[in-house]
Symmetry: C2
Subunit: 201 residues, 2 copies
Amino acid sequence: MPNEPNVTAIDALPASEARWIEFQKISWNDQAGKSRVWEAASRKTRGKSGVDAVAISTVIRHPNRSPSTIIILQYRPPVDAICVEFPAGLVDEKETPSDASLRELHEETGYQGKLKYISPTIVSDPGMSTANMQLATVEVTLKEGDKEPEQALDDGEFIERVVVPLDDLYSRLIKYSDEGKKVDARLWHWAAGLHFAKTML
Amino acid sequence: MPNEPNVTAIDALPASEARWIEFQKISWNDQAGKSRVWEAASRKTRGKSGVDAVAISTVIRHPNRSPSTIIILQYRPPVDAICVEFPAGLVDEKETPSDASLRELHEETGYQGKLKYISPTIVSDPGMSTANMQLATVEVTLKEGDKEPEQALDDGEFIERVVVPLDDLYSRLIKYSDEGKKVDARLWHWAAGLHFAKTML
């Protein structure tokens, strides 16, 4: 039975010690020709693809269940909470984002699917960070009686996967949030767009 | 006619110089009881609400036009590109996120609307940052002949607003991306959820 993860200390991180991220002081000229400075965080791990990370929106089709997606729950130290997210991960040095999407989906959820689409490169929080990503859409087709597959997690990875009917996704995210879990903004926006289409159009 | 903004230099930012963001070295115990370290970026501007920022998904209703939303285009130094985003901004020190949503929508787009809903606190990029936000849904009701309102931008803010029929949003984002603009991941996810509801369910 795993322990409850917890933060024990938050200290200032000297730039010289940082291994995964770095701070940039960006000098730029604005639209009025004025010289200005912007501060940003950046990942040090970006590989040849030029894309830091991928996330995967999955649709599971089954002969007699309603279409579902897969979300994951994992503890995230920066927000000291269990986060609710699409399966996601960093793109390896020589990997394509498409390959990373199928790999991460398999590792984090056990499911193997067909890549239907991958988004252009989009930016995660461009007011404060250089981080970018692509969102993949993967279809998993199940037959009657197919068993739930095994996750392929690394040692020390604790990730819970949850299959959620798409009709329940939005209310499920509200419920998780009410319980004190933190929903990832990107997953929230996807579910909110889906919900909007059903209720406000 | 404004100039084309551009980055002139990217330097390492010493922690002692950083005014807007800071680096955290987070010590935490994982699920196996092992002591570990995580690196994260954090905004220094979070106020009393505990929420860094808001974004606004608007629906404009008009007697004889299809429902539309408002997106904004602005240059973002961290990604050295024009970004395509929902209207958004930081929550002021003593402001509520709901008030910030209506204020930012008005400043960035000129439109004034009614707050229909505001999301729980969601996390922007919880693998690398403490940043959080809330997503507001605002409804703007126009009458026949209403003029496009004036933006209320600060000096030195260059923000273009674009009203887009919801039916065209997804293809518009692809077009912007093809042109070299960078779409914000949260806006992309919202549009992808909407598009998914129309095409894959």
